[in-house]
Every structure is written in C-alpha cells, then in structure tokens.
C-alpha cells in the first residue's frame, strides 16, 4: 500500500512537472534542432517581443531570444536564435514588422539589396546585422492625423490672410502692372520711331554734306588753277584745310552717330573758316576779287556757301536731329 502510494505520488509529480516544463518549451517553439545566434541592431523594435518568430523568405527559422536597449541608448539590440544550417545572404538585414494586422510582430531576415527602403541601422560592430522597424499602424495613423492637422492649420491661415480686400488689392496690382506694361510698350514704340527719324535725318544730312563737299571740291579746283600770289597760297592752304575738315566731318557724320556733337563743332569751325575765306574772296580789292569776275565760278562759290550756311543753320537749330541721347 505504501509502495503504491509512493509510486502514485511520484508519477503525478513527475507528470505535472513534465507537463509544465515540456509544454512551456514546446509552446516557446523549442526542439528546432541545432541553433545559432544572430544579432541585429535597430533604432526601434516596434511591438516585437521575446519569442517572436524569425522568418527567412517566409519560412519560420527561429525566434527572438532577447531584446535590450544598448547602454548608450542609441539602438536596441535584438538577439535571435535561428537554425544552425541556415545560410543567409552576404548583405543580409533584418526587418522588424507586423506579422499580421493583429499586433504580433516578427523579425524577417532579408537581402538588403532586394528591400532597401527603410533606413537600416548599420551598427558598427562585427556580426551585427543592420536592422530596421517598420512603423506600425498606430504610428502611421498618428502621422496621418498630424498631416491632417497641419493642412487644417494652413487652410485656416490662408482663409484668414486671403480676404476679399486682399483679392481686390491683388487685382489692382495686376491692373497697374498691365497699365505700366502698356506704357512701356508705347514708350518703346516712340523711341523706335525717333531712332528711325534720326537715322533718316542723319542719312539726308550726310548726303547733303557729300553734295556740298563735291561742289566745294570742284570750286577749289578752279581756285587752285587760278591762284598765283603769296596771299592766294595762304588762302588756298586755309581752303584746303577747311576742305579736309569738311571731308573728315562728312565721314564722321556718316559713320558714327555718337560723334555728331564733335562733328557739328568741327563743321562749325570749318564753316567759320570757309566763311572767312569767302568773305576774303568777295573783297573787290584783293587778288580774288578780280577772279570773281568769272560768273560761273562766282555762282558755284555762292551756291556752296549758301548750302554750308543752310546746313550750319540747320545743325544749330536742330541739334537733336543729329545728336540724340536716350535711355531706351
């Protein structure tokens, strides 16, 4: 009787302890054969818990052994026990993510090249795989909620700032810009027209000066053949200098509008000399007075003089026709 009781008690105790121990190991996922240890570091582990499954290409290959925040606080170290014969990729990483929509998380070993999206933490320690945790649904929801709040704030601010008055002011500014634009177009058109007029005037003046120069050259050729005395030579020298000045002036006016003012001054000086020369020529007591008896020569000289005078008077009266300064 005593023996039987001992056996019964022993049997019940052993069975009870065995049920507790082996049941616990079995529920924990033990007896998976030889196991090796893998470690990964991530900035966060989400809702991962000890005992969570470790998967590789969708197959359960182990479980999470321990989860510890590093003393520095910069990362969380996750220790995994996986099948010893498991061959993982050279650039393997560990993604911590929800296994389903009901809260349980898993650690998945994957090829980093095939799944490079999350910012994996490269922990500077030998044998520690890069790890990253996907945000769970609650965090995503919170983020979306924050975005919605920000949009609401922006919308409110726009609503406050963009009143009817602001819209009217904006419309006025646009209208003003339009008016200014029209005015600018008009001014540019006017300036263009002035340039064209100026170019035409300069062209006409150049032609007139050319004609005057040709007539003067013909007249002085006649003078040259007739002059004999010393005073005549001096006069001829003056006349020759005036003619050179006139030629240079003609070229300057024809080539550059920017030199018109100086050209006009030189024309003025030239005409002054020519006028002095012609006055001397018209003197009846001088050597030239006698030569003026030739009516053709006198007519030619008078014609040249008249043209010079007209040109000089025109330049003096309308300097803007020959020299113009403008912003546009």
């Amino acid at each position: 009787m005593e023996r039987r009781r001992e056996v019964l008690v022993g049997l019940v105790v052993v069975l009870g302890i065995a049920a507790g121990v082996f049941g616990s190991i079995w529920l924990k996922g033990g007896w998976r054969g030889g196991q090796t240890e893998l470690r990964t570091a991530a900035t966060s582990v989400g809702a991962l818990v000890r005992g969570a499954v470790v998967k590789f290409r969708g197959v359960t290959v182990g479980s999470v052994g321990s989860i510890e925040v590093l003393p520095s606080g910069e990362a969380v170290m996750v220790e995994m026990r996986v099948l010893e014969e498991l061959v993982i990729p050279a650039n393997a990483a560990v993604l911590l993510a929800p296994e389903s929509m009901f809260g349980e998380w898993q650690a998945e070993i994957l090829d980093r090249g095939e799944f490079g999206l999350p910012p994996f933490l490269d922990y500077p320690e030998e044998g520690v795989l890069p790890g990253a945790a996907l945000p769970d649904f609650s965090r995503l929801t919170a983020t979306f909620d924050q975005i919605a709040r920000n949009l609401t704030t922006i919308s409110d601010r726009v609503e406050v700032a963009f009143t009817e008055e602001t819209a009217m002011n904006l419309k006025g500014v646009i209208d003003n810009v339009s008016v200014v634009s029209d005015l600018l177009s008009e001014i540019i058109a006017q300036q263009t027209e002035r340039f064209e007029d100026l170019a035409e005037g300069v062209d006409e003046s150049a032609q007139e000066l050319g004609a005057a120069a040709r007539a003067a050259r013909i007249s002085f050729e006649h003078f040259d053949s007739l002059l004999l005395g010393a005073d005549a030579e001096a006069m001829m020298a003056d006349a020759s200098a005036g003619l050179r000045n006139l030629r240079e002036l003609t070229e300057d006016v024809g080539s550059s509008l920017g030199d018109m003012r100086s050209a006009a001054q030189r024309v003025d000086a030239t005409f002054a000399r020519v006028e002095g020369l012609l006055t001397a020529l018209e003197t009846p007591d001088g050597s030239f007075g006698r030569l003026l008896g030739d009516p053709a020569l006198a007519d030619g000289a008078l014609e040249v003089l008249a043209e010079f005078r007209a040109l000089l008077a025109d330049i003096k009266e309308n300097p803007g026709r020959y020299v113009t300064f403008s912003i546009f």
């Binding site: 019964l8 105790v13 049941g23 000890r50 005992g51 349980e104």
Partner: protein
C-alpha cells in the same frame, strides 16, 4: 432609542474585532506551524500520505473540470471571434485563459471544496473528540503532526495538479477546435504560440502554490477551531470552504496586480 441607533455600529465593531481575532489566531497558528517544521521526524512520515490525499486524489476531479473548461473555452472563443478575427485566436484565447486564470483558479476553487472541507472536517472531528488534546497529552506536537504535513502537501501538490489541469484543458480545447470548429492543428498551435510567454507558466505556478497554502491552511485553522460536536464540524467545514474560496479570489486579483 439610543440603543437602537448604536446597534449597527456595535455589530460592525464586533465583526471587525472577530475578524481581527481570527486573523490573529490564524497567523499565530501558521507561525507555530512554521516553528514546528523543525520536527521533521514527526511530519516527514506523514507527508507522502498527505500528498497522495491532497494531490493525487484530487487529480481526477481537477482534470475533469479542466477538460470541460477547455472544451467550453474553445467553443465560446469560436462563437465570439467572428468576422475579420482569424480563427487561430481560438488557440490564443484557450491557451492564455487556461494558463493565466482558469487553470489555477478553477482548480483552486474545486480543491478548496474537496481538500479544504476534508481537512477541516477531519481536524474538527479530532478536535471535538479530543484527539488533539490527547496528542498534546502524549507530548506530540499537534501542529507538526496535523498541520505541517497537510500544509506542505498542499503547497507542493497544488502546482503539480494545476499544471496537469492546464495541459489537459489546452489539449481538450485543441481537440475541440479540430473536431468541432474545423480548425487545423497548425492554426491552433500558431494561436497558442503567438502570445505565449514562459512567464505565464511561472505566474500560474506561483498562484497555485499560494492557493495550496490557503486551502490547506484554512482547512487546518477552521478544523482546529471547531467547537460544538458534529454540528460544529459541519459548520467549520463550510467555513473553511467559503473562506478559502474568498481568499483565493482575493489572491488571484492580488497576484494579477503584482506580477503581471
């Protein structure tokens, strides 16, 4: 008039004093029993028979309760978890509930009725028939002879019985899921394992250990306090069961708050 007004307060006072007195006597009894543990030659030969009575003899009723608890849990979980909730949560619910709550508490309550009443009635009878006094007269330590072996047997055997009950309850739930709920073994086991933590088993062991001490200790205390013949024995047995059940439920909440 004044006497009428004071009567409720007097009743409350009496109850409080009686409660405190009982608690004091109980703690004095347990303290004396702790001291009597040193008399190993007295209680050691009695430990095995008590383990057989408290533990082995309780296994059938504990497993019976656990079996049907597991079956009901699986069926009710399947009934409740509908819609988008996956069926493997039946396994989760059965496992978690059996390990954390129903296994220890139901077993404790059942054994409070069976073991607590048994011990209280036995010791109460010995008290009213003056056998306890005879032991004292014969220079036997009644605590080492009567209380210590029962207390230790309860502390040792309750966790064992509870672990067996949990295992059988889960197995019954598993069997029910396979046969009646059209679930596969893989689904049920997945649910069992998903939220399993080894600490759950330790939690169940700690609870059942405390329940064993409470059930046997209450039985011993109520039995040794028995007065008034056969009627008093019945009263003390009832008191032992009720007190043990109440303390078990209070301890259940206490451990949940402290350990989880």
């Amino acid at each position: 008039m004044a006497e009428l007004l004071l009567r409720p307060f007097a009743a409350i006072g009496n109850l409080t004093l009686a409660g405190l007195e009982s608690m004091g006597r109980a703690w004095r009894l347990f303290a004396s029993a702790a001291v009597s543990i040193r008399n190993t030659d007295v209680w050691m030969p009695l430990l095995l028979p008590q383990m057989a009575r408290v533990g082995v003899a309780s296994v059938p009723i504990a497993l019976f309760i656990a079996t049907f608890t597991g079956i009901v849990m699986a069926l009710q979980a399947s009934y409740s978890l509908t819609g988008t909730i996956p069926s493997y949560f039946v396994g989760t619910l059965v496992g978690k509930t059996m390990i954390l709550e129903l296994g220890p508490v139901l077993t404790g309550l059942v054994l409070a009725g069976r073991v607590g009443a048994n011990i209280s009635a036995e010791l109460g009878t010995m008290r009213v028939t003056e056998q306890v006094d005879a032991l004292e007269t014969l220079a036997y330590d009644p605590l080492a002879y009567l209380v210590v072996p029962r207390l230790l047997a309860g502390i040792v055997m309750f966790p064992v019985v509870v672990l067996l009950a949990i295992s059988i309850g889960i197995a019954a739930g598993w069997f029910t899921a396979l046969q009646l709920l059209e679930m596969s073994s893989a689904e049920f086991v997945k649910g069992l394992r998903i939220y399993y933590a080894p600490w759950d088993v330790w939690f169940a062991v700690i609870k059942s250990l405390s329940f064993g001490a409470v059930v046997t200790g209450t039985g011993c205390y109520c039995g040794l306090q028995t007065e008034g013949g056969a009627e008093g024995v019945g009263r003390s047995a009832t008191r032992a069961v009720v007190a043990a059940c109440m303390i078990i439920l209070c301890l259940d909440a206490f451990w949940a708050a402290v350990l989880l």
